[in-house]
Homo-oligomer: 539 residues x 2
């Protein structure tokens, strides 16, 4: 068998599916990402398991739905013992490492309960959801309990001194006289106060190249998660990217007055967020979108750097490259900002897999419209390294058959979840913590959203591709809602916690095994038992 | 505050709710258990979370539904890190120990993955689902991978030599000439080949008394799980209990030809089991029921021994005594043997809580018909020892308010589950492993059973208390089914894996906290930010 390819698993943060030229953006050219698509498969209907960083990522990193891994929101610790991609790749000899962001919080209470030292090798990896933290950097203002990222030290060595160099230099605008807070949307048109080469995206790209060079010397197969913080907030980018795009380059806003006329209470609560009100102003979009696009353009250029690096080393032919995002960004569409809900611009992500294996030649440069979920990547990686997917643990499906041009029977719907308990919407809606939950079922046409405590929402993307018209209360659509609710029930009853016992072992249970164990349940007398033993081939 | 009572948590195995005189059995007198009911509260509508030993017990021991703890069947390991009653009581200084059966299997793979030595103190307790194994004995023919129980050594010391003394002497009939296999129902009328005082029930009772005496000297509070294997199979009991009951003492069989006319496919598959066919024969019932009753009578006598022991030590006034069972036994009712399904004789259990505290005086000797679940005991124990129940972990509700005569708003339905994947029914029905699942919702009148892949079952216990008539396909009951299905969906969508983050902490999330963290999402400019900080009381 040919040596399996290494895997370079690139993730952006908050990158909409449609902000790439290969996905149709008319004015944002992303030739390097496009070239990945040209060399691989562009999965055009890929959905995340929760449209917010933390839980979405924990699903990517475990291959499990949010309700299975239980890390419902940013920095809700992933419980100790929850099986990760890294756990699955370790027995295959793969070095599974991280450069960049995971949004993971360690389950320190759980580790203490099980006597696991967080500073031991096992504790460190468990604290990083299965990744060896070659370079961990969530790219947000670090809280007091977290170690400062190495990027801060890097900036300091270059003379960019500050209590928080990440924020002060790399994510602020202005000059020595006036520091302009990069979190504030009004400053999105300013260049970041740092030369481009020292900003986060090129820095992380170099760190990825460091890892690849180092690991190649070891001769071990590797799976590197290169996880860019951008184009996530703060929306600020260094020159020259801050000035590349102007009013003529912006996609028109996708919104309709119908969406504000009598919205579902949950949608209304999110429309009432400050970020939604601000992004509903044209002035804000005009200020922010060019920065958002510039950040993407910078990433695309760095992907180019990385591809040239791999090519020069001859590793482009032995590396499977995956490009995706943890969720999208409303940017004012639907009178919303940020992510959180289930419109396409939020829950749908770019997903490109470029597999250089000959087996994938048949699909090279094609698009695939199968309904794909974020949880499909982890099992894909396990299979790509020659492992067997533990389907009682991972809930996604390997994409390898699709990459190889097979047409397997595929899932009929994708699922996504959102827990708004940590947000102001919970209080605004008067919901208990454990009832602040949303569930999306999307079958490729109908998008059904179950909202605990409220009527559902329903959109027909065939007749209403922009998702303007909520049919959740339309009597004419009762049958569709009932059908989607049944799909939700079947999904909700999934057997997702039976992780210690595989389907294969269960299928091995037999009458002969029971007879051998001596648990002789149900036999009347010796004759009946003897006959059963004979029938089971035991005598 | 008064010193909390110790807790003696007694469980029988396979004891039907109605085989106690305090629950109405006309010919089986259980005065010692009845006296517990007279001193406490008899919960007359208590239901287990799965009508089979292993998963039912894991729910008792974790306070979590089966689909939450994931140990779906006997000896499916409870995943490492799953929080147990013992974990919750440890910080309260309580010694939580086991004498008898748990049906636990250790998650050795998970422990290896987390570097936990199974022989360390932590590993041993995790392997026993949170209990210190003062005496572990599942009372079944030990498999090759398990250590022989101490009871075997006890028998050997008394001269009862055999490869498997438990089976050979304590659970067989016959004499030196002819050994009669106690697993075979035809031998249920024979006395076990052992003097009564050396049989399992008195032995385990003495071991419980050993523990209590020892722990009293330590001065630590304790929670002892005394877990009798009986009246579970093998149905064989030593003299004189083998001969106490005859044909005149038997409850009439509860079955109707309607149940066999056109049964639901799942019910039919269980009726086809060997054990069901045998128990459907009157001859079998006549042979087995007296032994079953004798085993219960022996337990009752041993409860008497235990109560006299506690009384003599002055500990009856400081010990809360709980008496229950892990599930019932069909014994031929509904043309079924064993347990597994959701008729009352299988899923409903006796549950008595005798709390000597003055606070419980108001309810002493009363019955309570609140819908109680097995998972309610663990939180009850936590509260009884002065702890606070972590409601993001434990899914049951403390019974203390009910014991104190309060009338809190209570749950409207109980839930139970069954996974028949390891059984012959799966193959007979052609179901995939992960679709061999049954779910019961019972609201006190309507019992709804969701069967993946089949129509539901529905019983109206008001008009049909014997559960003979399945209304699962009755067009007139579509509304009831829809209502119950909605209850199932709400339950299925429970947030049962978010165990690292409490509701209390989530309620503490605030705009001020976000402002303090520096994640300034959604602000346009300095003026807007300053106003928000002022409004949040930050300046």
């Amino acid at each position: 068998m040919a040596k399996p390819n290494n895997i370079l698993f690139i993730m952006c943060d908050q990158l909409r599916w449609d902000y790439l030229s290969c996905n149709g953006h008319p004015s944002l050219q992303t030739p390097h990402i496009d070239s990945l698509a040209a060399r691989g498969v562009n999965f055009t209907r890929a959905y995340v398991q929760s449209p917010v960083c933390g839980p979405s990522r924990m699903s990517f990193y475990t291959g499990r739905y949010m309700r299975s891994h239980g890390s419902n929101w940013n920095r809700f610790p992933l419980r100790i013992g929850e099986p990760t991609l890294g756990d699955a790749l370790a027995p295959l000899g793969v070095r599974t490492a991280l450069v960049g962001k995971t949004h993971m919080a360690a389950d320190s209470q759980g580790m203490a309960r099980l006597g696991i030292d967080p500073d031991s090798r096992l504790g460190v990896i468990a604290s990083e959801c299965g990744f060896e933290p070659y370079e961990r950097d969530d790219g947000l203002h670090p809280g007091p309990s977290r170690p400062r990222p190495a990027y801060d030290e890097y900036l300091r060595r270059l003379g960019f001194e500050a209590e928080n160099p990440w924020e002060h230099w790399a994510n602020s605008g202005g000059d020595a006289e006036a520091l302009l807070n990069g979190w504030l949307l009004s400053h999105a048109d300013k260049p970041a106060r740092i030369p481009e080469e020292h900003s986060e995206t090129p820095y992380m790209t170099r760190r990825a190249m460091d890892f690849i060079g180092e690991t190649a010397q070891e001769g071990r197969p590797w799976c590197l998660h290169l996880s860019y913080i951008k184009p996530h907030w703060p929306y600020i980018v260094p020159a020259p990217y801050h000035a590349m795009y102007g009013p003529n380059h912006l996609l028109p806003v996708v919104r309709d007055d119908a969406e504000r006329a009598d919205p579902h209470p949950v949608l209304r609560a999110f429309q009432d967020f400050r970020v939604s009100r601000n992004f509903s102003r044209d002035e804000v979009r005009a200020r922010v979108l060019p920065a958002y696009m510039g950040l993407i353009k910078q990433i695309d250029d760095q992907i180019g750097v990385l591809m040239r690096f791999l090519e020069a080393r001859g590793e482009l032919a032995t590396t499977t490259i995956v490009f995706t995002s943890d969720h999208g960004d409303y940017l004012g569409d639907h009178w919303l900002g940020e992510k959180d809900l289930f419109h396409e611009c939020s829950v749908r992500v770019p997903m490109i897999v470029a597999d250089p294996s000959p087996a994938a030649d048949a699909t090279r440069g094609t698009a695939c419209d199968a309904l794909v979920e974020a949880i499909d990547l982890a099992p894909t990686f396990v299979e790509a390294f020659g492992g067997t997917v533990a389907n009682h643990v991972m809930e996604g499906r390997s994409l390898l058959p699709l990459l190889r041009g097979e047409r397997p029977a595929w899932r009929g719907a994708v699922f996504s979840e959102y827990d708004y308990a940590p947000q102001e919407a919970r209080e605004a809606l008067g919901q208990p913590v454990d009832q602040s939950r949303l569930f999306m079922v999307f079958d490729g046409r109908w998008k059904y959203i179950h909202a605990a405590g409220f009527r559902p929402m329903l959109y027909d993307l065939a007749s209403d591709p922009n998702e303007f018209h909520d049919l959740g209360a339309d009597p004419a659509r009762a049958d569709e809602r009932a059908r989607m609710k049944d799909m939700l029930l079947s999904w909700a009853l999934r057997d997702h916690n039976r992780i210690t016992m595989s389907d294969v072992r269960i299928r091995g249970y037999s009458r002969a095994g029971q007879l051998r164990s001596g648990h002789l349940i149900g036999y009347w007398d010796e004759a009946e038992l003897a006959l059963a033993r004979k029938e089971a081939g035991l005598e």
